[in-house]
């Protein structure tokens, strides 16, 4: 079984540890989780309860994303949910993938995907203007 060298003595122990990152992430999961209660439920309320989820289409989404308040709200949601969710997925990777190389590979893949998704999300929220950019983007279509 692959194991990190375990400290047996005082000085070993001092030499072994350096970071507080696991603690920081643990705290973040709780803080973000708490905020996400409001963010996700609000989001769900707006899109599923106050609206018929079965009728979601381009116009609905586009019109929503045109509102600045939605942009701000969804930005927070995106940021927290993504960080929270990705760190949660990382936990699963730590627990279920035991070969060190594969574990690293899985984490790299996860963080890459998460990075791309984050950029896409931010672009959709902020660089996209329904009136100006929209036409420009659409003009690119073949």
């Amino acid at each position: 079984m692959a194991r990190a060298a375990a400290p047996r003595t005082f000085s070993d122990a001092k030499a072994t540890y350096q970071t507080n990152s696991e603690l920081a992430w643990w705290v973040f999961m709780r803080v973000s989780g708490f905020l996400l209660v409001f963010l996700t439920f609000g989001h769900l309320w707006a899109n599923n309860m106050a609206f018929n989820a079965g009728e979601i289409d381009f116009d609905y989404v586009a019109s929503r994303l045109a509102q600045p308040s939605v942009k701000v709200y969804d930005s927070f949601l995106l940021l927290f949910a993504l960080l929270h969710g990705v760190n949660g997925l990382r936990y699963s990777i730590e627990d279920y993938i035991q070969r060190p190389q594969r574990r690293v590979a899985a984490k790299v893949a996860l963080f890459t995907v998460a990075g791309i998704v984050f950029v896409l999300g931010v672009m959709a929220l902020w660089t996209f203007s329904f009136t100006e950019m929209g036409d420009a983007v659409r003009a690119l279509e073949p």
Binding site: M1, P7, A13, K14, E22, L23, V27, D95
Partner: protein
């Protein structure tokens, strides 16, 4: 009464992989599971291998997965299990033969948290004083007999053998909260690392499994808070 015992057996010198063996035998409700497997070993099949010593729940030799739960074979009676008894080795540690697992990884994790008293001040001629209240804070975690029932019941440990596990944290707790000890910062430092304390997902299997009734999850949470609030 007639009971049916299923044991997951494995002989590294003969079997390619573990298999289930079934035995039917007479037992009394008041028999310990240890008595049952002793009987099997002594009368039916001498090759059955397991560890045992004290036979009353004090030495920690015979933690096993009995009817789906980790227990000490000497601390659970037939009548509390019914006529069908299933026994497997505890999970997450390499099986060496039948119910015997390799305890070295378990003890390595234990040793990693510096499970010994640290106080470099020269001792007084008599005892170091400690109030009864200070003594009570870590009373529960001094009861550990290192049986591994907790660590091998933890769903995180099953899949992630690098996790130090609840037993190591319990033993760290015993010293971190001892008012006479000076090594708390180092132990917390070890527990703060990737495979330490923060891998615990509060699944409580450890607490349910502990034959010494140590409130393990509570202790783990106390250590988490100690790490969180320590003035570092």
């Amino acid at each position: 009464m007639q009971i049916n015992v299923k044991i997951k057996r494995y002989n590294p010198e003969a079997d390619a992989r573990p298999y289930w063996a079934e035995y039917k035998l007479e037992a009394r409700g008041s028999d310990r599971v240890l008595d049952v497997i002793n009987h099997l070993k002594w009368e039916v099949d001498g090759t059955l291998a397991f560890r045992r010593s004290c036979a009353h729940g004090i030495c920690g030799s015979d933690a096993m997965l009995i009817n789906g739960v980790n227990r000490l074979a000497c601390k659970v009676l037939v009548k509390d299990l019914g006529e069908r008894i299933t026994i497997e080795p505890i999970r997450g540690l390499p099986v060496l033969k039948d119910l015997i697992v390799d305890m070295e990884p378990f003890f390595d994790s234990y040793k990693a948290v510096l499970p010994f008293f640290i106080n470099d001040d020269p001792p007084p001629p008599g005892e170091r004083y400690q109030s009864a209240e200070d003594r009570a804070v870590f009373d529960e975690t001094t009861k550990c007999i290192l049986c591994a029932a907790c660590t091998t019941s933890c769903p995180v440990f099953w899949t992630n053998g690098r996790y130090l596990g609840p037993a190591a944290i319990v033993n760290a707790h015993r010293f971190i909260f001892d008012s006479r000890d000076q090594g708390a910062a180092e132990r917390l430092g070890v527990l703060n690392q990737a495979n330490g304390l923060w891998r615990c997902r509060t699944a409580y299997n450890c607490t349910e499994a502990c034959p010494r009734d140590i409130p393990i999850t509570r202790a783990i949470e106390e250590v988490k808070r100690a790490l969180l609030w320590r003035g570092a």
